[in-house]
């Protein structure tokens, strides 16, 4: 294997995979902008309200949940952090939102990225959603009635901006 052949393999391979990913990611981002402009994200947030009931948490958690699921933890981070600092959610609720989102976030982009490189995306997505709901449900049953609001308030005060 000559150096030139290695270089050309890497160049061709990386170029064609980026192209493949661009073909999927660009329409996907247009789709998300359409969702935003048609105000469908608000409806999506409303759809998550029953989920907050299952987890026995405040409805205010549905907005950070939606942001994380659609935009991911890095890009949706602002909304998630704001929701946590507004003071409408207690420690348990904030922990549960985090727990849900670490398992199940950026559902559109991540799923399609891995589909673009050849993963079977339906089973992967299914397992993510099932695990997130199941683990959060168990967590919510296990911690029900925990009065740890006080702790949150003092902890949030300590968090630097």
């Amino acid at each position: 294997m000559s150096l030139l052949m290695i270089l050309s393999e890497a160049a061709k391979g990386s170029f064609s995979s980026i192209l493949q990913i661009a073909i999927i990611v660009i329409p996907l981002m247009v789709f998300i902008e359409i969702l935003i402009d048609l105000k469908l994200l608000d409806k999506l947030t409303a759809v998550l309200v029953p989920l907050t009931r299952i987890f026995n948490i405040s409805q205010h958690a549905s907005l950070p949940l939606m942001a994380g699921m659609v935009f991911g933890i890095s890009y949706g981070g602002g909304i998630i952090i704001n929701a946590a600092r507004e003071g409408k959610l207690d420690y348990r609720e904030i922990y549960l939102v985090n727990l849900f989102l670490i398992i199940c976030h950026s559902l559109f982009e991540d799923t399609f990225l891995f589909a673009a490189i050849g993963a079977q995306w339906i089973p992967v997505l299914t397992v993510r959603i099932i695990l997130a709901v199941l683990i959060c449900f168990l967590f919510s049953r296990y911690t029900r009635g925990n009065q740890i609001k006080q702790k949150t308030v003092s902890r949030l005060r300590d968090v630097p901006n």
């Binding site: 294997m1 990913i21 660009i26 727990l99 982009e109």
Partner: protein, 148 residues
């Protein structure tokens, strides 16, 4: 309301992500292709092979896994592609990476929400391994075809 700017924003976001991705995927892709033809990757592969067997992956797949955990999904993708994994193996590693990736960045966000994050990181890594085992068993016993 849908306007032309909806599409403009979408396309520009898409191009942005593609660009961010390319900046990571291309160098990683080159590096891994070089490693593939050097003694390093075969060495790493045989070293990690016993551990990676648990999740039904070849030893060299440990590299994208580690890059994904510590950097991000883009780096992992750049390392998966040159390895020539089959569709089953890519599905397993995708499932594992989706449970745990970009741990430094995403954990920083969790920390800013005011919670203790040690448990969160442990849960992610444990889930990543469990999901890997689950998919390896499903894919290799054939029960997977019945399910999906």
């Amino acid at each position: 309301m849908l306007t032309i700017s909806t599409f403009k924003r979408g396309i520009s976001n898409g191009l942005n992500i593609t660009w961010e991705l390319a900046k990571v995927v291309v160098p990683v892709y080159f590096a891994v292709t070089f490693l593939k033809y050097s003694p390093v990757l075969p060495w790493l592969s045989s070293l990690m092979s016993p551990m990676m067997q648990i999740v039904g992956l070849p030893g060299e797949a440990s590299m994208p896994l580690i890059l994904g955990y510590f950097i991000n999904i883009y780096a992992a993708i750049g390392a998966i592609l040159p390895l020539g994994l089959d569709s089953k193996e890519i599905t397993i590693i995708s499932a594992m990476l989706l449970m745990a990736h970009s741990l430094p960045i995403e954990t920083a966000v969790s920390k800013k929400t005011g919670i203790r994050v040690v448990s969160i990181v442990i849960i992610r890594v444990v889930l990543s391994l469990l999901v890997g085992i689950l998919f390896a068993v499903l894919l290799h016993t054939g029960s997977y075809e019945k399910l999906f």
